[in-house]
Amino acid sequence: MTKLVSRELKATRLGFGEMLVELGRENPNVVVLGGDVTGSVRTDLFAKEFPDRFISVGVAEQDMMCTAAGLAVAGKIPFASAYGEFATGRPFDQIRQSIAYSRVPVKICASHCGITVGPDGATHQSLEDMGIMRMLPHMTVATPCDYLETRKMIRATMSWNHPIYIRFFRDNTPVFTDDATPMTFGKANTLIEGKDVTVIACGLQVWESILAEEELAKEGISVRLLNMHTIKPIDRDAIVKAAKETGAIVTAEDHQRQGGLGGAVAEVLAETIPTPMEFVAVNDTFGESGGGAELMMKYGIAKDDVVRAVRKVLKRKKG
């Protein structure tokens, strides 16, 4: 495995915006819905090149989701996007009935997810979005770890004929995957091999975990790192394998600890191979204003928290 280094800082949301334009050029049926946050979620790029296929619905997320469903019924390929909470919690029942239950392949793409959205504060920090979306049958839930993976994911949605929710972020963050890094929905990506413990991370916590692994490696701890970019359907095989081979699991996410990635992994382990686990996640609290990095530290989802969690779970690991 090549060493994972940050080649540049680039926003995941930009990967979304750029790829939308590419897909728009390739497929005239691609349409994009705008909810008055176009510049933030970077659908401005698409809107500029394809004004006729950009449909503004105003600040009305419920309407947006169902309008997208209607466009799909008419044979279009709709992308609906907003900030994390307003793309999921606000129109939850709409997504549930008109997209998930109806099994309409709308692509719900949210930017500004998690606590790292920063200064906007709690109302804008979606910390429940993955959890609530993964509860919906028929729904796929995925979250890229960097700009390049975002591009791959957005492209992959074109042949993924299911309702899907993709979660990405505001900040410019390290780009450390490359064109060859695999991205298949539902298949965890082993970024680092290891045998003492497995860190299962998603989103921006993948990079935090890479940093943590470096530190732990120096202490002689061999960490396996999985990028669990697809929260649903979750890669049960990879989890069971990790539990069998490493005997201890840490999950890491920018999300509430209840119900999210950690919850999903705990559920799999409980019914297959019960294994000591530690959760790196926001601990049942709302966020607040601050810088993204500051908040990651204050709310316990940064590199150091992964390091601590690994040490803790190793103590619990059976001889």
Partner: protein, 306 residues
């Protein structure tokens, strides 16, 4: 019923529609008696509109429920589905015998509409049941068709109580903003919802002014008068530059004396006695019932004997 060779032709003349509407009402009473749960009032009130839409107005082909030239119909107020199922069955989208499975386990006739491509009925494009979502869907569909420069029309039927949901007004605004004039909204203005009459639960008037202020052409008609309704849809089709809403005044429970205009029948099925009474007020038609109950046979025998 045979699939149409030319789906743009009405399959019944205006003169034949009242009888079909009556048959649908008979079907409803029998379906609901069998299901022992479900909504009587709204569906009875809408039988004239459904008969008109599916047998005269809309371009549909039961043999090709997803044919590209079809008109799209969205039932936003999903609880009204019994009248949709009965109409679809009568129009040939499903066997009429299946009407006896309403709300039973493993049925396609779910308590609220399931889309055809999960386990629902052909001709049903998408799920409904949670109120307030259908108009947005219809607007999206209409915009999608317009993008492709297709001539298909989109119809969306809403309950009046349903208009309490803010999402309806989001969709109304979106349709007005985008001047979606291949869309016709129909409001079932029966002045009833679950808890009470609409003005007691949540005042909707002045309703035409609301729609007009959201950028719509507004037409009103008697939704239990088939000719008037068809004429009004004709007018709606001719209106351009904005979406059009038809506020169709109906009576909840229309056709069954003891249910008429009574909100208490919003969500109740008739019991056997009530069904008998209802059916006696809705004489049999040339189209024939989908089921004959024992007591009907008995009563025919009785009549013959008398």
């Amino acid at each position: 019923m045979m699939p149409d060779n030319n789906p743009s032709q009405p399959s019944l003349t205006v003169r034949e529609l009242p009888e079909m509407a009556r048959q649908i009402r008979r079907d409803l009473m029998k379906m609901l008696l069998l299901s022992k749960s479900g909504h009587s009032g709204g569906p009875l009130g809408l039988s004239d509109i459904f008969a008109s839409l599916y047998f005269h107005i809309m371009k549909v082909d039961p043999a090709r429920p997803t044919m590209p030239e079809r008109d799209y119909f969205f039932l936003s107020a999903g609880h009204l589905c019994p009248v949709w199922y009965a109409t679809l069955a009568r129009r040939g989208f499903l066997p009429i015998e299946e009407l006896s499975t309403l709300r039973k386990i493993n049925t396609r006739l779910q308590g609220h509409p399931a889309p055809a491509y999960t386990h629902g009925v052909p001709g049903i494009e998408i799920a409904s049941g949670a109120l307030g979502q259908g108009l947005s869907i219809a607007v999206g569909c209409a915009i999608g068709l317009r993008l492709d420069k297709k001539p298909n029309r989109v119809f969306c039927l809403m309950g009046d109580g349903e208009l309490d949901e803010g999402q309806i007004w989001e969709a109304a605004m979106t349709a007005g903003h985008h001047k979606v004039d291949n869309l016709i909204g129909i409001v079932d203005r029966n002045f009833c919802q679950i808890d009470n009459r609409t003005d007691k639960v949540m005042e909707l008037e002045p309703l035409p002014e609301k729609w007009a202020a959201f950028g719509w052409h507004v037409l009103e008609c008697d939704g239990n008068d088939i000719e008037q309704f068809i004429e009004t849809v004709g007018q709606a089709k001719a209106l351009k530059g904005k979406p059009t809403v038809i506020i169709a005044k109906t009576f909840m429970g229309k056709g069954v004396s003891f249910m008429e205009d009574n909100y208490k029948w919003h969500g109740m099925p008739p019991n056997e006695e009530q069904a008998k009474q209802a059916l006696s007020e809705l004489p049999p038609t040339k189209f024939g019932d989908f089921i004959e109950f024992e007591w009907e046979k008995a009563s025919i025998v009785a009549e013959v004997k008398a």
